[in-house]
């Protein structure tokens, strides 16, 4: 009887350890949010930028760390030091943009053309007022569609 109960305790403990480590392993290695599979908030680049400028509290609450589908006119296309494509979308302020870092480089993007970009909004960085440089609204891990 005593032997059986020790056996049961050991079995229970063993199962618990296996379950805990498996859960821990999967939690630790869980993948990042799948941008393409996540439902997005649809907005234009101009409205997104204007909301951050005029009502930053509302903008942060509504858009930061959310997946957005942003429509806008392409201002420029370049690459960063990691060879990731950077697409800037026009806003109401000539020196400010919705700054999109692409997850996969888009082909055939034309400056002046209208695009739809889906990505994760990380927020707005105030520019440098002393030097007259306005900030950008940033989207990361972006995907392009026409």
């Amino acid at each position: 009887m005593k032997k059986r109960s020790i056996k049961n305790i050991l079995l229970f403990f063993g199962v618990f350890v296996v379950l805990a480590s498996t859960t821990g392993y999967f939690l630790w290695n869980k993948p990042h949010t799948n941008i393409l599979a996540t439902e997005a908030i649809e907005i234009s680049a101009i409205t997104l930028y204007n909301t951050f400028i005029t009502d930053s509290i509302k903008a942060k609450k509504t858009y930061v760390n959310k997946v957005l589908s942003v429509t806008g006119i392409v201002k420029s296309v370049s690459v960063n030091q990691q060879n990731q494509q950077i697409i800037l979308l026009k806003t109401s302020e000539p020196d400010a943009s919705v700054n999109c870092t692409m997850e996969t480089n888009a082909i055939g993007i034309k400056i002046g053309g209208e695009v739809l970009i889906k990505g994760l909004c990380i927020g707005y960085i105030n520019g440098e007022t002393d030097m007259g440089l306005p900030g950008d609204v940033f989207l990361v891990r972006c995907y392009y569609s026409t």
């Binding site: 960085i125 030097m131 440089l133």
Partner: protein
């Protein structure tokens, strides 16, 4: 009279352009960090850094959003934002400083220059004075800057949860790498 106006206009245009050409900026600069840990090394990249460099008055500035640091693992990113950096409460970090040795070089001439940087670094709502060294490289009229320095987490009130305190390094190495554009 018309000639005078034209000369005056050219003069002002020259003044404007000569002022702006000493300002360099990027809105996609790169700052990454590395920390040695017992179980798994921790590293993350932020490629959404705004930086401005004025070679005339030697000012250098950096601005970034903390939640833009991207980790190889989602769970690392989550812990970094919620447990360590409290990015909801302290969403941004900045550096405002002066570069020493910058007015000795010609921005039109290719070369690599060692500089010293001194200024205030704000992380996690705490502002500290730091001094470090860096390199400014000019190649084909393009200017880039690199710098590596270390910070102690405790200096910025970043607490390591007691459960992992022995597994995580108390200081992290920060690498800055920016390619600047001339302001037109």
């Amino acid at each position: 009279m018309i000639k005078k106006i034209i000369y005056l206009a050219i003069f002002f245009l020259f003044i404007k352009s000569s002022c702006f050409c000493q300002e360099y900026f990027t809105k996609n600069g790169r700052i990454s960090f590395f920390s040695k840990a017992t179980l798994e090394n921790i590293s993350a990249d932020n490629n959404q850094v705004i930086s401005l460099l004025n070679t005339k008055n030697s000012t250098l500035r950096f601005y970034l959003l903390v939640n833009a640091f991207h980790f190889p693992k989602a769970m690392m990113e989550q812990h970094f934002n919620s447990d360590y950096m409290e990015s909801d409460k302290y969403p941004s970090s900045s550096f405002k400083g002066i570069v020493t040795g910058i007015n000795n070089f010609d921005v039109e001439k290719d070369g690599s220059y060692s500089v010293s940087v001194n200024g205030t670094l704000e992380i996690h709502g705490v502002t500290k004075n730091i001094t470090t060294t860096g390199t400014i490289i000019i190649k084909n009229g393009k200017l880039s800057a690199t710098c590596v320095f270390k910070i102690i987490l405790k200096d910025y009130n970043i607490e390591i949860p007691s459960i992992v305190i022995n597994n995580i390094s108390k200081q992290i190495e920060i690498t800055v790498a920016c390619q600047y554009e001339k302001r037109s």
